[in-house]
């Protein structure tokens, strides 16, 4: 039996507010929490769709940006954790939001 696939998925309430030069904030209108994110963070955010796992997200980031560091997977994982802790995302199991 295949291991269930757990993938991050955006909280549909979260607002992505792009401000200057692709820098942005994520905003949760219920909690009023905000998180400032850089252009790479914005790109990651847009890939958090409940379908892609972290490895797939990193792969796409590597394709999109030329200067991705070797620790990109850990950085992306940490970033996803931060998004989860702040309520900006949840997880989906086999495509079903949990």
């Amino acid at each position: 039996m295949n291991k269930p696939k757990k993938t991050p998925i955006q909280n549909p309430l979260t607002v992505l507010r792009v401000e200057f030069d692709d820098w942005a904030i994520l905003f949760d209108p219920d909690s009023a929490k905000t998180l400032g994110i850089n252009p790479t963070g914005v790109a990651v955010w847009k890939l958090v769709d409940g379908q892609r796992g972290i490895e797939e997200i990193v792969e796409e980031i590597r394709e999109k940006f030329s200067d991705v560091s070797i620790s990109a997977e850990k950085e992306t994982s940490d970033f996803i954790d931060e998004l989860y802790r702040n309520g900006f995302i949840g997880y989906s199991l086999n495509g079903v939001a949990q």
């Binding site: 401000e19 200057f20 905003f27 209108p29």
Partner: protein
């Protein structure tokens, strides 16, 4: 003289893609007629009201622009019979809201409704005295009791409530009592304070309500001498408390021949056009309620994004900060110039008829020349 050359040669600073806050005058009606009201008696304003559906349509646009906060004012927002429908529209479009109110119409039903949205940043209620006698002197008989009842109703439902105190000729001797009433008796964590300005209805009641130079001195001294338990809980971005704290810094800098303050020496006082924009009750887009004559477009007809990014008048207002104070006759020879930002453009307009002037109402040199003192 008009410093058009500085303005014409100015470079537009970087602008966010959309405003963070949009201030909406959702009601042109008010159940009070406060003597110093900035909103009424503006000949440039059409005091009409948009129907519900036009506001709701606009909220969809605000949501699509990722505006995070709106403030609802007027007039008196709680006079709108469709207020809950409007709040629903704000919530559905992923925004938070604040309400500026006289507090007199707030009841359990609406307070409970607001609380249950979990999207309310604040309801701001105006309180101008520690008693009916003082508060009602400018705001009308019975308004104090109703406003305090409104505050207590909001508190009972855990709605974040904040208070704005406006100082004027009739309450300037009540500052310590107001602080004790709001912070001790009502248990507020703090409040903000300003003073009545020569704008709107205040223009025709100026002699009766504006602070005299002596009143202003009393206000500044009393605010600085409040017990520490109050002093740290009162905030001001303009008016006597701000001046009482800021002017001594300007004086110290002048005495020490310090370099200019950041943003000093130019018309840089107002940051609003970089963060927020306003809409009148008739749907006209304006930079700010203090510049209600300056129509930039109309909601649902003009794209707010387009207005925000490309309206020439709005961008000119943003570039106002390139205008140096040393070119104004009013500022000539002033040793405080490197530490001055020219004050509010709305007040500059109402007092001088020109937005691109320093506002004389918050001028330190003028205050001192008229016999004022700073500690």
């Amino acid at each position: 003289m008009n410093n058009l050359s500085a303005l014409e040669n100015a470079t537009l600073p970087k602008i966010m893609r959309s405003p963070r806050i949009v201030r909406l005058e959702i009601s042109s009606n008010c159940n009070l007629r406060c003597l110093y009201c900035y909103y009424f008696e503006n000949s440039a304003v059409d005091y009409s009201n948009l129907p519900t559906e036009q506001w709701l349509q606009f909220f969809v646009e605000l949501g699509s622009m990722a505006v995070t906060d709106v403030s609802l004012s007027g007039g008196e927002p709680f006079l709108r019979p469709d207020l809950t429908d409007l709040i629903d529209g704000i919530v559905q479009n992923k925004m938070r809201f604040g309400i500026n109110s006289n507090g007199t119409l707030i009841n359990d039903h609406i307070a409970e409704y607001i609380a249950e949205t979990h999207r309310c940043n604040y309801v701001q209620v105006s309180i101008d005295g520690s008693s009916s006698e003082v508060h009602d002197s400018c705001r009308g008989e019975g308004s104090f009791v109703k406003a305090v009842r409104g505050i207590k109703t909001l508190q009972r439902h855990d709605v974040p409530v904040v208070v704005r105190v406006t100082l004027h000729h009739h309450n300037v001797h009540d500052i310590a009592n107001i602080a004790a009433f709001l912070l001790d008796e009502l248990g507020l964590s703090g409040f903000s304070i300003n003073s009545a300005g020569y704008i709107g209805a205040c223009r025709k009641n100026a002699d009766e309500v504006l602070l005299t130079r002596q009143d202003r001195q009393i206000a500044m001294d009393d605010l600085l001498n409040l017990p520490q338990k109050y002093a740290d809980r009162i905030t001001a971005s303009a008016g006597p408390l701000y001046e009482a704290k800021h002017w001594p810094k300007m004086e110290a800098a002048r005495m020490n021949h310090d370099p200019a303050f950041p943003k000093g020496g130019h018309l840089t006082a107002c940051g609003c056009p970089f963060n927020e924009i306003s809409v009148r009750s008739d749907g006209m887009i304006i930079p700010c309620s203090m510049l209600a004559h300056m129509v930039l477009g109309r909601i649902n007809s003009d794209s707010l994004q387009e207005v925000w990014l490309n309206n020439p008048e709005l961008n000119r207002l943003r570039m106002r900060r390139a205008v140096p104070l040393n070119e104004f006759e009013f500022c000539r020879g002033c040793n405080y110039m490197p530490y001055c930002t020219g004050n509010c453009p709305g007040m500059a307009f109402t007092l001088t008829g020109d937005i691109n002037q320093p506002s004389p109402e918050a001028c330190l040199r003028k205050f001192l020349a008229e016999g004022g003192s700073i500690t």
